[in-house]
């Protein structure tokens, strides 16, 4: 248990260091668009890490960095993509909301709820392939009220497809409190889709891993779809620059009580770990990101001459 949590803490620290590096890019103007960080939600990515194989698919959202790292997407090209560099994962064409790693079957979409139909397609491909790979679609509590959630889970249930729907429930669809506008929680809907449903404390990486692994194993064994809902807290605004006026100062101050990193640290210290040893984990994560940032910053911006590349293979013949 403590070994596992130790490892999860290292992963969470790496995710946070990654997000903090991105914050730096926003402040400096190196990232000139929207940025959504998962600070406060790191335990979910940490719990997912190591559970999936390369041939499993993972389709993530606008808040995707932790999931990408969990799927093994290489960190430097990912950071370079977010920092709008030619060496980015997608050459600077995608940006932080549109990350694609073909070899690891990882992709994202910036449209809330649109992840699940894509994951469903991967799940269907796995059945056609006769493989025991699984597809994971991530959504937030906002996405569970889109039509795509219903359509995808219905079809996954009807065809018993190997689909795991991971709901990151921070109870905020930007500013709208999801529980106030939802007739039922996502897990409570699972029986309607012949799906397995499990709610888990998303600040506890060990619990997330257990629930996520159970759902993945269930899908791998041909049991059909699952909904895993991980409750969590979004520390920052919806995006960097969000004035976040929908939460009171007290409410925001109280968030730190739910910090998954502080929680893991507390538990590990109580279990006999030393401050120095845990500080060392944090230093290691920060050092990795400092080196990554230096590498990314040395890379050039994409050549503007390429702005029309990659639209289609066959030229469309339109005016430039």
């Amino acid at each position: 248990m403590s070994n596992q949590l130790h490892e999860h803490l290292a992963t969470m620290l790496r995710i946070r260091a990654f997000e903090e590096a991105c914050l730096e890019g926003v402040a400096s103007g190196e990232i000139h668009g929207e940025l959504h960080t998962a600070i406060g939600q790191e335990a979910i990515g940490a719990g997912m890490a190591g559970v999936l194989r390369d041939d499993d698919a993972l389709v993530s959202t606008h808040r995707n960095h932790a999931h990408a790292l969990a799927k093994g997407v290489p960190l430097v090209p990912m950071l370079a993509e977010i920092f709008e560099r030619a060496t980015g994962l997608c050459g600077g064409y995608g940006g932080h909301m549109h990350l694609f790693d073909r070899d690891r079957l990882f992709s994202t979409t910036g449209i809330v709820g649109a992840t699940l139909p894509v994951a469903l397609g991967h799940a269907y491909a796995m059945v056609l392939d006769g493989s025991d790979a699984v597809a994971v679609g991530v959504t937030g509590d906002g996405g569970v009220n889109t039509g795509g959630f219903h359509e995808s889970l219905n079809l996954a249930g009807a065809l018993a497809l190997p689909l795991v729907v991971l709901v990151e429930n921070n109870d905020l669809a930007i500013s709208v409190v999801s529980s106030e506008v939802s007739a039922a929680g996502s897990v409570e809907r699972a029986p309607a889709y012949a799906a397995r449903g499990q709610r888990v404390d998303g600040t506890d990486p060990v619990a997330v891993e257990a629930a996520f692994r159970a759902a993945v194993d269930h899908a791998r064994a041909g049991g059909g779809p699952s909904i895993v809902e991980a409750t969590c807290h979004r520390f920052r605004g919806h995006y960097e620059g969000d004035p976040d006026l929908y939460r009171s100062a007290e409410e925001k101050d109280a968030l730190t009580a739910h910090d998954p990193i502080a929680r893991a640290r507390r538990l590990l210290l109580a279990d006999g770990a030393t401050e120095a040893e845990l500080d060392e984990l944090a230093t290691r994560a920060r050092t990795e990101l400092e080196q990554a940032l230096a590498e990314v910053r040395a890379a050039p911006a994409p050549d503007p001459a390429g702005a029309h590349d990659h639209v289609t293979l066959l030229p469309t013949g339109g005016p430039r």
């Binding site: 992709s107 139909p117 009807a158």
Partner: protein, 336 residues
């Protein structure tokens, strides 16, 4: 209509089903998803026999969940498949356009060329008396959004050949079949009536001059090609010599073929069953003008559905949808 009876006299739907069958036999990666595509073989019969031949996994009857099964096309493509997604009527695209224009059309670009989207969106368009929500063409809508090829065949030969090309394409292709043509047989066509049984493709992006003429150029596509040819026959008895160009695809748009014709005729009529404003007709005319310069054209006109939904009653429908009579009238005015 044809001077000699065609060797095979099947309807266009059957030729499309044949094209899909031949491509599926040649490429195991092709899968077909949509409503009624399996057991029924499509509401117009253009997937008939496929489920029997390839099984209910490769030809999947879906629930009425366009958002889900269109998005499945994205996941399937990223998993190495070549999905054909049937949107029964193009009018239904509103419920799933998200996956079409934000994922299928953009993933290649957003991934910096790393992710291919060999997806065919097969969908029926055009007027057959089904009023505002089941009669649109909408090829201009898809064409406006970057990242997709858009084809709309006019003849049995092109219907089969363009479907084969679409299924072989590594780019997304929106294949818009005209409902009135789907149920027409080879013998109903004055052009492209002969359809070989074998595999062949019609290259995407190349217009075809289906009638030579020196007085006026008509550029059109889909079912309006048949109307233009009928009008041209009538006009020839009046001494007006019309050239008819079938664009065959909206994206890529073969401006060169049209411009070369207009350079001779100096008169261009664009006939488009889609909405008039901000669409194919304005775009094509602009590109021809950019190619030839303003002095290269003497008369330009366009016929389209002039920014009004398609009405139900026949008398109203005929008033807004361009047909042979309206085309002939427009040409007469241009030639005089």
């Amino acid at each position: 209509m044809t001077t000699s009876a065609p060797t095979r006299n099947l309807n266009v739907s059957s030729y499309i089903a044949e094209a899909i069958r031949l491509e599926m036999e040649a490429d195991d990666a092709i899968v077909v998803l949509g409503e009624d595509v399996g057991r029924q073989g499509g509401v117009f019969g253009s997937t008939r026999g496929l489920q029997k031949r390839f099984g209910d996994r490769r030809v999947l009857d879906t629930p009425i969940s366009e958002m889900a099964f269109t998005g499945m096309g994205v996941g399937l493509a990223m998993s190495g498949y070549r999905p054909m997604i049937e949107i029964m009527f193009v009018d239904f695209i509103g419920v799933c356009l998200e996956q079409v224009y934000n994922a299928i059309a953009k993933n290649r670009y957003m991934s910096g060329g790393n992710v291919a989207m060999p997806v065919v969106i097969k969908t029926a368009g055009g007027c057959i008396g089904s009023a505002a929500q089941h009669s649109q063409c909408l090829w201009g809508t898809f064409a406006h959004l970057p990242g997709m090829h858009v084809v709309a065949p006019s003849s049995p030969y092109d219907a089969k050949g363009l479907m084969a090309a679409a299924l072989q394409s590594d780019d997304p292709v929106v294949y818009i079949e005209h409902k009135a043509l789907l149920l027409s047989k080879s013998a109903d066509f004055a052009h492209g009536a002969e359809v070989p049984k074998e595999r062949y493709t019609v290259p995407i992006g190349e217009a075809a001059t289906v009638r030579d003429g020196g007085d006026v150029t008509i550029a059109t596509l889909s079912a309006n090609v048949r109307d233009a040819l009928r009008a041209a026959e009538e006009l020839s008895t009046e001494g007006i010599d019309v050239e008819v160009i079938d664009l065959r695809s909206v994206v890529p748009l073969d401006t060169a073929t049209v411009a070369a014709s207009v350079a001779r005729t100096r008169r261009l009529l664009v006939v488009d069953e889609d909405y008039l404003s901000f669409g194919l007709s304005g775009e094509l005319i602009t590109r021809v003008l950019e190619t030839l310069g303003p002095s290269g054209i003497e008369v330009v006109r366009r016929l389209g559905v002039a920014d009004v939904p398609i009405p139900a009653a026949r008398s109203l429908e005929e008033a807004v949808v361009p047909g042979a009579t309206a085309i002939a009238e427009a040409v007469r005015a241009m030639a005089s």
